[in-house]
């Protein structure tokens, strides 16, 4: 969906105003530290995947998404996932105390489990039977795709012509993964001239972006 999160090329959002690298703490307050940890810990319950987690943050009014700080959006996302998966209730969230028992049998990770999970990660590469449709050097156009679902084809490249720069192999396809369907698709790095993306070609810049095969058509 073209929500508040789909930010490439949007304007009026102000200066970047970076903190100096040497002065920036990892977290800017205690609650950021905690919601970061809570989000990862809750994710390790295995009730949702990374695309469902992203989609939970995206499904907000754009004004809320843009007004919230980064970790406020994490709070919104993890609450939505906990509620939608029936792990907590609205009443419990409001009161901060347990009023209903946990329904399902869940394996809650221990400190040792966490270490293992963080160190192993969750690879998304998949062996595919079908060969890739495109080869490096091929010209492709990104399909326009108006959807209420989750997609990783940003609005700013839809309809644009680019060139296949790399084939990354088969990877989990987010548009299906968000529905809980494990489906592999060929993933490509696709390169676009700034002329094709923004209409000006005199700044000597280009954008390379990872796109799955179903997003692309031969140009």
């Amino acid at each position: 969906m073209q929500g508040g999160h789909d930010l490439g090329g949007k304007q009026g959002l102000g200066p970047i105003d970076p903190e100096p690298e040497s002065e920036e703490p990892v977290f800017h307050s205690e609650w950021e530290r905690r919601i970061f940890g809570i989000t990862l810990a809750a994710g390790m319950l295995g009730q949702w995947n990374i695309d469902q987690s992203r989609f939970a943050r995206e499904r907000q009014h754009p004004a809320d998404y843009l007004r919230n700080s980064y970790y406020e959006n994490w709070y919104e996302g993890v609450c939505k996932l906990l509620l939608e998966n029936g792990l907590i209730s609205e009443t419990e969230l409001l009161n901060g105390t347990v009023s209903e028992p946990v329904v399902s049998e869940l394996r809650v990770p221990s400190r040792e489990d966490v270490e293992k999970i963080l160190n192993s990660g969750g690879p998304t590469q998949m062996e595919l039977e079908s060969p890739p449709k495109f080869q490096p050097g091929d010209q492709v156009r990104v399909n326009r795709n108006y959807t209420n679902g989750h997609t990783r084809a940003p609005a700013y490249v839809q309809g644009c012509i680019g060139e296949i720069a790399m084939h990354h192999g088969g990877h989990v396809f987010p548009d299906a993964n968000v529905k809980g369907q494990l489906q592999g698709e060929h993933l490509y790095a696709v390169r676009f001239s700034s002329k094709n993306l923004w209409g000006y070609g005199n700044d000597n810049s280009e954008v390379t972006i990872d796109l799955w095969e179903p997003y692309l058509a031969k140009a």
Binding site: E21, H28, Y71
Partner: protein, 211 residues
């Protein structure tokens, strides 16, 4: 008329709501407090851009390693002991005199945690995410980085689980430096691509962060 869009000082409201959520999840047995602390401790104190600086400095002094790094970054980086979440599929992109790489995630905040730790606030902000793809030269200038017009800027928008790390150009005047010395020149920002690696003269004046 205008409102403040800087969220470094959040309302206490959110602090209270997060506290309530944490209590609830612990009381409900959904989160183990020790596991929670382990997660936070890992990313606050153990994983950070020093990992990436190690990778980069080694690539600067070791041609074989550099070759492996460019061909199979995930494997080469794992050989130095860095692997795990948000670093499952790494790609290293090399700066050259004619090409400068810059990494962004326009849709969220994808970032190579295993080598850089958690992203800085600006990387996750709407201004950076919106403009890095459409006006990268202006963005670089906001970081004080001015590149000649004939240098191509190549932006990498991290939409997939591939994670991109920039290999900056080794500064001149460091020909006889050791890997350990070189690491000090490799900033987090140079590995995202918003800055160049530091030059020897900058070492005294701009102290590096702890991470």
């Amino acid at each position: 008329m205008s409102h403040d869009h800087d969220h470094t000082e959040p309302p206490s409201d959110i602090a209270l709501r997060v506290k309530a959520l944490e209590s609830l999840l612990i009381e409900k047995g959904l989160v183990d407090p020790a596991a929670l602390d382990e997660i936070i401790d890992n990313y606050e104190h153990r994983v950070g851009p020093r990992n990436g600086a190690h990778v980069v400095a080694k690539a600067w002094v070791d041609q074989d390693f550099k070759q492996r790094l460019l061909e199979d970054a995930t494997g080469a980086v794992a050989s130095l002991g860095y692997s795990g979440r948000q670093g499952e599929h790494l790609q290293v992109v090399e700066n050259t005199p004619g090409l400068h790489n810059l990494v962004v995630c326009t849709l969220c905040s994808c970032y190579p945690w295993t080598v850089l730790g958690l992203p800085p606030a600006w990387y996750k902000s709407a201004p950076y995410r919106s403009r890095a793809v459409s006006e990268p030269r202006a963005v670089l200038e906001e970081f004080g980085t001015q590149l000649p017009q004939d240098v191509t800027i190549r932006v990498w928008d991290s939409t997939s689980e591939m994670r991109y790390l920039v290999l900056p150009i080794r500064p001149t005047g460091t020909e006889d430096w050791t890997e350990e010395q070189l690491q000090k020149l490799v900033t987090r920002n140079s590995m995202i691509g918003v800055e160049l690696a530091r030059v020897p003269g900058e070492l005294e004046s701009q102290p590096q962060g702890n991470n």
